[in-house]
């Protein structure tokens, strides 16, 4: 994927109805892209990184041949979508009722 394609994808996600923000963290949990302000970004990065690691190991402990692809957490107001990958993790925050 080229930088332009990445930017386009991020733009598309951000403009999607209900999306409140996104951030991308690297494998050390350091945010490398974010549409949220610095302190919120840091908070999300730290909290979601450790939860994502725990979710991945949960799946692997149930079945070592299986792998976590995606997870989502829903509250009354928001939904947090997390797409963990080898090098990066993408986190999107959206309003629960996006329809």
């Amino acid at each position: 994927m080229t930088q332009a394609e990445v930017d386009d994808t991020l733009k598309r996600i951000q403009e999607h109805k209900g999306v409140q923000g996104y951030l991308i963290i690297n494998s050390d949990g350091i945010p490398i892209r974010s549409s949220l302000d610095a302190s919120v970004t840091q908070q999300y990065a730290a909290l979601i990184k450790s939860l994502s690691d725990k979710a991945r190991s949960t799946i692997r402990e149930m079945d070592p041949s299986n792998e976590l692809l995606f997870f989502r957490m829903r509250t009354k107001k928001h939904e947090i979508l997390v797409a963990p990958d080898k090098e990066y993790t993408m986190i999107v925050l959206q309003a629960t009722d996006a329809s």
């Binding site: 908070q43 999300y44 909290l47 979601i48 450790s50 939860l51 725990k54 979710a55 949960t58 799946i59 402990e61 149930m62 079945d63 299986n66 792998e67 976590l68 692809l69 995606f70 997870f71 989502r72 957490m73 829903r74 509250t75 009354k76 107001k77 928001h78 947090i80």
Partner: protein, 100 residues
């Protein structure tokens, strides 16, 4: 107040849904009180998912203290695990989404 029959019917309905591989209900101590899966699998899920749910609930509250986790969905290669925590219980459903 939901009667025992209504609870059983609801559980049966979920289990009969297309793609559902199993359903477990655990109490606030992580002890399975209902399950459609074998003993080992049930205990394995109960232990791992209750730990993960505690962690997820804490993260959600730290991000916004006015919010509470209502649902957690874990999508993996082989299946999807849906976790619905309540005050006294956690319901876990394992399903194969149609898209897989």
């Amino acid at each position: 107040m939901t009667s025992q029959n209504e609870v059983d019917d609801m559980i049966k309905r979920i289990q009969a849904s297309k793609g559902v591989q199993g359903l477990i209900i655990i109490d606030s101590d992580g002890i399975p009180i209902r399950t459609s899966m074998d003993n080992d699998t049930t205990l394995h899920y109960a232990a791992l998912i209750s730990q993960l749910t505690i962690h997820a609930k804490r993260v959600v509250r730290e991000l916004d203290s006015s919010q509470e986790l209502e649902q957690l969905r874990l999508r993996s290669h082989k299946h999807e695990i849906i976790v619905a925590p309540e005050s006294k219980y956690i319901m876990i459903v394992v399903q194969v989404p149609e898209a897989l």
